[in-house]
Subunit: 183 residues, 2 copies
């Protein structure tokens, strides 16, 4: 039979990080793993309490269930959009294609410039909907769970729209990537 140690003393230590050899083991393991993780790119938009558009590029979008249709995304409570997301009822979640790479960069750039331009329109509930994305969903926030300085937001999808199809835009190791070979 295998013994199950109660303490973490037996944890193998991951190799030190190139960038920070003094990082603690837990942070090193986390960074090493997510450095090898790739994710589809989404943009979440909402309105703040004064009706101004806010939004951000997210690589944490995930499906949670189909019936009812639920999706999740994660964000830092230090993010410029958090005050709006923490107060509002509804968000729009956009899926990005290769042609939306500039859009992804803009919605990850200086927050005062994210909605300067004609790359968005007013959609359901007055929410900002980004133009020319491959698809978008509007939904109601049904849970916000904060842990330390971050939050998981659960959204129940109510509707949405489709744009022209495109290859999915991927983010990996601080670079935008296309999809490659089908295995």
């Amino acid at each position: 039979m295998t013994e199950r140690p109660a303490a973490p003393a037996a944890l193998p230590q991951p190799p030190a990080l190139d960038t920070d050899p003094h990082a603690p083991g837990d942070l090193a393991a986390f960074k090493n793993a997510f450095r090898r993780h790739a994710a589809g790119v989404a943009v979440v938009t909402a309105l703040d309490t004064e009706g101004r558009p806010v939004g951000f590029t997210a690589t944490s979008l995930a499906s949670m269930s189909a019936v009812p249709p639920l999706a999740t995304f994660n964000m830092a409570k230090s993010a410029s959009s958090w005050p709006a997301i923490s107060e509002t009822d509804r968000v729009v979640i956009h899926l990005l294609g290769l042609r939306n790479r500039t859009l992804a960069e803009r919605l990850a750039g200086p927050n005062t410039e994210r909605f300067v331009g004609d790359h968005w329109r007013v959609g359901p509930y007055g929410l900002p909907v980004l133009n020319n994305v491959t698809s978008w969903m509007v939904g109601r926030i049904v849970e916000r769970v904060t842990v330390h300085n971050a939050a998981v937001v659960v959204v129940q999808v109510e509707g949405g729209g489709l744009g022209h199809d495109d290859e999915a835009l991927i983010y990996h190791e601080r670079h935008y990537r296309a999809l490659g070979e089908t295995l």
Copy 2:
């Protein structure tokens, strides 16, 4: 000024699904969007209350914060691993590379066959650790949030290990894919 309708009557209707033209609008929007979403592939493992290994392939792994190191994954409460995940303290989250495609399929296959073989070993806390993955993290479950028939699980990473590097394994439209061009 833009009016903000309070009711969802103004929602644009997405095109009907090819596979189910009678699907409700919310489900169609959800399916249309996630059909265009690509995700990195992970495997979550744990021990059930009798000490037997359980696990499943997940495309919902997301980073939540780095300090402290937090990650999330989503699962259905109908999943064979849910009783174990709902009771246990700790999980192992593995990141998969292209060479792990068979492993991804095995951990998504019949649950009685997922740990038959020599593709795993006993790791920290007696937890099952899959061999030859690109990286893995062991962590403590700090939140389980259930909404309808699904759950978000928040894990605080405590340690982990690195395997040989490999291209990240991606899942998109029911196919495993490699990464392509850097944009």
